[in-house]
Structures are given as structure tokens and as C-alpha cells.
Amino acid sequence: MAEIRRLTGRLAWRIGEVVETRPAAPRTRSLYLEVPGWEGHKAGQHVDVRLTAEDGYQAQRSYSIASAPEEGRIELVVEHLDDGEVSPYLTDELRTEDKLELRGPIGGWFAWEAREGGPLFLVAGGSGIAPLMAMIRHRAAAGSDAACRLLYSSRSREDTIFAGELDRLTASDGSLEVVYTLTRSQPSGWTGYARRIDDEMLAEVAPTPEQRPLVFVCGPTPLVESVATSLVGLGHDAGRIKTERFGLTGG
């Protein structure tokens, strides 16, 4: 066993400034941060955010970066969790010009760069869309023509974060496809999927194993594990599936 010194350096804690906030869904907010000295990130990585109360009490959570590396400022997507300690502060209290302490980018494992190519199969549950949106945006900014398909599960159309942007991107890019499944309520006339992701849906939506897609799955732990297990069952190479579990709820 070893006792380790604290480090300084580019992965030390630093202070960013909130330059904009925007509602992303009924109980979800996007935060845009300028972080002096930010050296960039890879699509898929996250930051650790640390809050400190005046009495010194601290709480820390991780949030995926939703913005592409090509953008200057970083975007975090935060869903308000009712019994949360950190998320209500970030969605309800934090405002522009406030400072936020963070550390990152972290997580070289769950990341994609355009030069890796595709095809890409992305599966998102709820706020698990955040790191996958970074990949989709990076793909567009880099001018990649790697085929990319996103299967996105959310409770309703209103809860579908980035829906507008995804619709615009798919309209102008034939090699990007998005399949939505709305699990709790659907708009009238909805002809799409209306249930949780299951084996049958994946068999219909996922690329074939022969296409050897790079797969990224992100969302609540039960969804991620179920999807990863199903894909392996459908014949996909487990070594080409990367997962980011958010635990009990969206992160």
C-alpha cells in the first residue's frame, strides 16, 4: 500500500465561469462554461465538478461534456434529481457569471475521435445522450463521413434533449441516423418506438455484427448493462462496445 501525494498540473482543480445557461428539457439545464487554460478534450470525456459551501462542506459529481472539442466553451447537461444534493444547485441556483470548480477532461477510455472512423452505433438513455452528443457534434465539425446511428431512449418528446439539433443534423447529413424511442408518452400520430430498449429493438436498429461498428452506450446502469448484454447476444464483439454507466439515475 502506498500513501500518495496530491498532484498539481493540468488535471488539477480549476475554476470555470458560467457564461450561459439554457433549458434543455423540462427538468434539465445546459450549462456553458469558459475554463481559462482549458486544453481541449475528446468527445466522450467528462469533468468532475466540486461544490464548496461556506462552511467548507464539499460535494462532488461527474458530468459528461456534451460539447464538441472544436467548440471553445464546454457544455454540461444536468438533470434535476429530486433528492439530489448537487443537481438542484446546478439546475436551479447557479447563474451566469458564477464560478464552478471542476477538473478534467477525464476518461480516455470512453472517447471517440473522428480519425478512428466508424461505423458508429450510439445508444443513449435519458441524460446519457450528453457524451454521445459530443461525439455527434465532433463528427460533424470534423467533416467525418463515418456512418453513425443513434438509438435514443427518453420518456417523452419534451424530455428528448437536443431533439431539434439532432433533427437538423439528420436532415442535412445522410450518413447520420437517429432512432427515438419514447417510453412514457408519445405525441399524437407517433409511429416510432414507444417502449424501453429491448432485444427486438436492437436487432432491428443496430448495425449488423458484420459491419463491426464501434458501439458507445451511455445512461442509467440497468439500461447500459441490458443493452450491452443484448448486443453481445446478437453477435457483436464485446471488445468494440464501450459503456458509460450513470449509476441509478442519469448523471
Binding site: I4, L7, L11, I106, G108, W109, F110, T243
Partner: protein, 88 residues
């Protein structure tokens, strides 16, 4: 299946405090079953009392980290070796 468990990726920040560089892409060999996998794809159990990274194949505790006012406590006894790809 455990609803609370995370990927080793989630402990990337804590491992930076301990290792000086990105550890989630490091490859580790489980000393119980021999499986070799990246830290980022192992199973992570993160709580206020401590963090345990377990082998995704056999659940052996690979890395245990506790943090308290005395400092960081790190136990790597479950790992035969860790291979890092170089400075980030």
C-alpha cells in the same frame, strides 16, 4: 447486475489524484483470474467510504482507494500489473 455500479471510467478523476496521469486507459491483469482489461472497462463501486475497482470477469477487488484526513490509501494487491500507455 448491480444498479449502482459504474464503469472504471468514472473513477478517472480519483485515479488522477493518485497516479499523476490518465489511468482509465491503463491495462491491468487480475491476479485471481488473469483477465486483462483496461481500468475504464472494469466495474467501479464508488461510495463515500471508499472506491473499489473490481475485475469485470470475476469481481476480484483490483484497486481499493480510501480517502480521509490522513491522506489517500491505495491497495493494488488484486492487480498483477498495470501497463500505462505513456504520459497524457
Amino acid at each position: 447486475m448491480d444498479e449502482r455500479r459504474l464503469d472504471g471510467n468514472a473513477v478517472g478523476g480519483l485515479l488522477v489524484e493518485v497516479f499523476a496521469f490518465e489511468a482509465t486507459t491503463a491495462e491491468g491483469a487480475c491476479d485471481r483470474c488473469g483477465a486483462v482489461a483496461h481500468v475504464g472497462e472494469q466495474m467501479a463501486y464508488v461510495t463515500e467510504i471508499g472506491t473499489v475497482v473490481r475485475c469485470a470477469s470475476c469481481d476480484n477487488a483490483l484497486i481499493r482507494i480510501a480517502q480521509n484526513p490522513r491522506g489517500y490509501f491505495l491497495d493494488l494487491r488484486g492487480i498483477s500489473y498495470l501497463r500505462f500507455e505513456g504520459a497524457p
